[in-house]
């Protein structure tokens, strides 16, 4: 397949200006003739809906929850990066760009990442003007904190609820556009198919989750901002409704899926306690600014943490990485935690946890200061684990958190299907093989507020106003197929619920497609996923009917997608016989067990093409060229 990333010409720092200066514009009077569908109301979807509506386009916005304010961006705790350099610590657009591309282990595009760093400052301005209550210094100016993977303080935050405040900012602007009639909002709708007419994205089919009806919506362009797929691991920090469905449906219609195996395992989550566990709760990575990570030096040391003297404690991150210490990037922190636990040094009930200790920080700054910074996180931990982290060190363990992989998009955030745009976590473009902390919020809002409003225009100009209506046979067929798929799920009438099968899938993924991967494990995973898929279609049990609210049925539909998609993840991980960022192939490590890249053979984006149910997908490669940065082996020592 031929595909072009459409990187603008010129020096890196001028590409975005060049693009904007030369792009085709939609005449202001013509904007109201275009209808655009936006699926998802997280940071990317809400900000895109808002900005496009303000420009004059007619927007239809869809969300899966009862209100657009609930999208999972709301749960992001720590902060949002920008290259403002307010602390005067030598930050710059270049440095943010460089940190991001290095953090992603040189598996993302220079041009996209540079643009992200460029617009980062506008995001902070925009959010402040909306009334987002960022943390401030006594003098009234904005406060910054540092975050993993960077040596400058560039993270803006609103207590431990930054995602909530940014999302509510976007939601309030969205509400204003709804009131103005420029955005039509559809809640409790799940996208079940993408409709193509003459090879272009012309609409979607959504299932009304309250009535079970299939609804058709036509438009001139479709924007997917449906988030990531961390829930394939069953236990993750994602919300329960996060799913791969929308982007997977697009993949089945021909959109390329890029780097599906690139998933981030977040190092600081609350460890799990039992089989009934439904999710893992993330504790903001900002905790690593003041907490010290350690395990007992001797395997099997079962003493309570307070009884373990300094000399018997192993502050393994500080020892191994003297310059970054507890602030190494997420993948490094996660892998090291697993390594310590695998060596028998883990703590807690399951032996799969490490300590995050605030005793020194409390001694240094006083309890009040720590409480002010992390109070809500400490309370949350105390409530879930029933231990007071001011007294006893926290226990943490890595959990699936973010997916860098996503639908392939070009510089305009357009997929290889004309008219289909993908924003936020749903695309693959900016974080390479590993995302740095506080960069997801930045990317979501960059895509929605400052990129798509420009980059959608050339497509609309070229393609013109569509005359396709929902009466077109493509809509009838897609709606019919979606309904048939639902009926099929209802008719199996087996003995296992979707949750039960999903839990088994999660275990396969954690064991073989998680923090460390190898050829035999990945091959085993492919086999296990295939047989679990068989089991699903033979033995699924869905209660109730398909004509009213039925969460079990929704979960079954999402799991059906997962059971195909996870195989693609494993196949991608198998094909990439190098380590990079979060993707650690055990066959490719340095002597110190760090990820060892193979730039000669794998300096590319793996863009997978659907070949039909049960058929091996086709691998396309977009070579990555680095003209401005030198590819180095990441080192945080």
């Amino acid at each position: 397949m031929q595909f072009d990333a459409k990187i603008p010409t010129g020096p890196l720092a001028e590409k975005w200006d060049n693009y904007r200066g030369k792009m085709k514009l939609v005449n202001p009077a013509n904007k109201k003739k275009f209808n655009i569908i936006v699926v998802g109301t997280g940071l990317a979807g809400a900000s895109a809906s808002v900005t496009l509506a303000e420009l004059g386009y007619n927007i239809k916005t869809f969300c899966i929850q009862d209100s657009p304010r609930r999208a999972h961006s709301i749960a992001a705790q720590g902060g949002i990066n920008a290259a403002k350099n307010y602390p005067n610590d030598a930050d710059s657009v270049w440095r943010l760009f460089y940190d991001t591309i290095k953090g992603g282990d040189f598996r993302s595009r220079e041009a996209n990442v540079y643009r992200l760093a460029q617009v980062s400052n506008n995001i902070i301005d925009q959010c402040v003007a909306q009334g987002v209550p960022f943390a401030r210094e006594y003098g009234g100016l904005l406060s910054n904190r540092s975050f993993g993977g960077a040596q400058v303080s560039r993270t803006f935050y609103a207590r431990g609820q930054t995602g909530q405040q940014l999302l509510l900012g976007a939601y309030s602007s969205l509400s204003r556009q709804i009131a103005a009639g420029k955005v039509q909002l559809f809640t409790r709708r799940e996208m079940v198919d993408l409709v193509l007419v003459d090879g272009k994205a012309r609409g979607i089919i959504v299932r009304n989750l309250i009535t079970g009806e299939m609804e058709r919506h036509a438009a001139d362009a479709v924007i997917l901002a449906t988030g990531g797929y961390g829930n394939v691991f069953y236990l993750s920090t994602n919300a329960t409704s996060c799913n791969v469905g929308a982007v997977f449906k697009a993949y089945r219609k021909g959109a390329l899926f890029a780097n599906p195996s690139f998933t981030q395992i977040h190092p600081t989550c609350i460890p799990h306690t039992g089989e009934y566990q439904s999710k893992l709760t993330l504790m903001s990575e900002s905790l690593r600014n003041d907490g010290r990570v350690w395990v007992p030096r001797n395997p099997g040391d079962k003493r309570r943490p307070s009884q373990i003297p300094e000399e018997d404690r192993n502050y393994y991150l500080e020892e191994k990485y003297p310059s970054f210490g507890n602030l190494v990037p997420r993948d490094v922190a996660s892998r090291n935690a697993k390594e310590q636990c695998d060596a028998g040094k883990g703590v807690g009930l399951t032996g799969y946890a490490v300590y995050l200790d605030f005793a020194d920080a409390i001694k240094r700054d006083g309890k009040e200061v720590i409480q002010k910074k992390y109070g809500n996180l400490f309370d949350m931990y105390h409530n879930i684990i029933d231990e007071d982290p001011y007294q006893t060190p926290m226990m943490i363990y890595p959990a699936s958190h973010y997916t860098m992989g996503g639908l392939w998009v070009d510089y305009e955030l357009q997929s290889n299907i004309p008219g289909l745009f993908v924003l936020g976590e749903g695309n693959f473009s900016d974080h390479g093989a590993n995302r740095l902390g506080a960069s997801a919020l930045m990317q979501g809002l960059a895509d929605g507020y400052f990129v798509i409003p420009y980059t959608i225009a050339p497509y609309l100009v070229e393609s013109g106003v569509s005359n396709v209506t929902t009466e077109h046979p493509a809509f009838t067929d897609a709606a019919h197929q979606a309904d048939t798929a639902i009926k099929k799920l209802m008719s199996i009438n087996g003995k296992r619920t979707a949750d039960n099968i999903h839990r088994e899938l999660g275990k396969i993924m954690v064991d073989h497609v998680g923090m460390a991967r190898n050829e035999s494990g990945l091959k085993k995973a492919v086999g296990q996923i295939q047989s679990l898929r068989e089991e699903f279609w033979q033995n699924l049990l869905v209660p109730g009917t398909d004509r009213d609210y039925n969460l079990s049925l929704q979960k079954a539909g999402r799991l059906a997608d997962c059971l195909e998609f996870t195989e693609l993840m494993a196949v991608d991980a198998l094909a990439r016989v190098e380590s990079c960022g979060c993707h650690l192939r055990e066959e490719s490590q340095t002597e110190e067990n760090e990820a060892l890249r193979d730039d000669e053979n794998y300096r590319h984006v793996a863009a997978w093409e659907y070949a039909g149910y049960g058929k091996e997908p086709k691998l396309n490669k977009e070579p990555l060229t680095f003209e401005n940065v030198e590819l180095t082996q990441r080192s945080y020592k």
Partner: protein, 257 residues
């Protein structure tokens, strides 16, 4: 986690209602062997798994993030919205707060403005309508000045943040004898009235949002303070006092109608 895990047996009395037009009823479900480390929603998951395997329909309830921030979950548990613990959403309530042989009554958030969708799920879209009537700063993307050109004292920023922490769950409405949404409305009005960015529209906002609240069928505030008591984010009724001041001031401002 260093504590031993215990199991308890409980009896659920849970509200079942097929749809907005169904009258609804309580169903009694005996539930055995519940781990005390489970969250309340994980207990409901276990109940639903068992009901499904028994060929019965599971109890539908809204939930999403399960970490207390999305505002999607919430039921009245033993008469209290979000259950017995202070400052906590239902998803953060753990079964260790209950005793063996407890009977636990679970109902949806009830209010004239919230229609029951099914079982414990309600329609909270009237809260969105209130925000649509003015819960924003009217500025378009692109025209914002440098973020540090608007200094805001730390005290003011913290107060605004206290109000902005509202998760829109609707517990305040469910707890209020008048089913008023005043705490919800006042949280947004306070946040924006405290900040300089929100001042230019403060008067019109107060009038529009209060009017919309009334039109949606929410009741009035009669200072019962039940809302504050159940709010998982501890939004204070000081915000209602601020709303009242803003609303009162607005009636003297000539350009607000």
């Amino acid at each position: 986690m260093t504590h031993a895990t215990n199991t308890i047996n409980i009896t659920l009395k849970v509200w079942r209602q097929k749809g907005p037009r169904d009258r609804g009823r309580f169903e009694t479900i005996p539930v055995k062997d519940i781990h005390t480390h489970m969250s309340f929603l994980e207990m409901l998951d276990v109940v639903n798994e068992r009901l499904t395997l028994d060929g019965k329909e599971p109890v539908e309830f809204d939930n999403d993030c399960r970490e207390g921030i999305c505002g999607m979950c919430g039921c009245v548990v033993n008469g209290t919205a979000h259950g017995p613990e202070k400052a906590m959403t239902l998803c953060q309530l753990h079964m260790r707060k209950f005793k063996n042989d407890d009977t636990i009554v679970v109902e949806p958030f009830r209010a004239r403005a919230f229609k029951v969708v099914k079982d414990l799920i309600i329609d909270r879209s009237p809260l969105d309508k209130i925000i649509q009537s003015g819960g924003y700063v009217s500025m378009n993307v692109g025209g914002a000045p440098d973020a540090n050109s608007i200094p805001i004292s730390q005290v003011t920023a913290e107060k605004a943040m206290d109000a902005a922490a509202c998760i829109g769950c609707g517990a305040c409405v469910a707890a209020c004898p008048n089913a008023s949404a005043m705490l919800f409305v006042s949280a947004k009005i306070s946040q924006l009235a405290l900040l300089p960015q929100g001042r230019p529209e403060a008067a019109q906002r107060a009038i529009d949002m209060v009017r919309t609240m009334d039109a949606c069928g929410f009741g009035n505030c009669s200072n019962e303070r039940e809302c504050e008591n159940v709010c998982p984010k501890e939004i204070s009724i000081v915000n209602i006092a601020r709303l009242n001041r803003e609303f009162f001031k607005a009636s003297f401002v000539s350009d607000a109608a």
